[in-house]
Symmetry: C2
Subunit: 111 residues, 2 copies
């Protein structure tokens, strides 16, 4: 796939990683577990993108975090907050509207 | 709606404007007409975003343009190129994959 296509695909995907992360972290989890869950669901994202994103979402109050200190190395696990749930609602509503709009445009273009 | 939500919505929408524009310009049109078609389809975008985007897509070879000099003031109209059609295919495929992934994550989260 050429670089131009890659770039446009990345732009299309970027906003959806936030939504997918908030949805997945309704069940509390670690960053690495989230990465695996997203990959399994078909959302390709790498750690260099995801981990800073999680810190940003936490700072924005959309995720809460706790440390699990039971293991030798403490690990942080995240959970979608009430504010995160509100953002999920807003983004899902918008997503479905865009999906419907694209559907209309696709029909129009192929008629 | 608060600023944070707005910002995330904008991120979600950004990549879709390219796809919606390429779909719409399968039927050649002016920038202003495109703006109206997108609004009618439910894709909110303003001219300050759309017009530079059209010039960028043209430079990338995804749109071709011609000048209509029949009116007093020449106007440029755009049309999706063969390369643009290939990008439409790639973006639509990706969009449907993301949509399916989000569907799976939504089901998982509300079970």
């Amino acid at each position: 796939m050429d670089e131009l296509t890659q770039q446009h695909l990345q732009e299309l995907r970027r906003g959806t990683v936030v939504l997918a992360s908030l949805l997945t972290l309704r069940t509390p989890g670690y960053g690495y577990g989230l990465l695996e869950s997203l990959a399994a669901a078909g959302i390709a994202v790498d750690g260099n993108t995801l981990y800073p994103l999680l810190r940003r979402l936490e700072k924005q109050g959309l995720l809460t975090s706790e440390w699990n200190t039971e293991d030798a190395r403490p690990r942080k696990f995240y959970r979608t907050s009430a504010e995160g749930e509100r953002l999920i609602d807003a983004l899902l509503t918008d997503w479905h509207e865009i999906d419907a709009a694209l559907g209309r445009l696709t029909d129009g273009g192929t008629r």
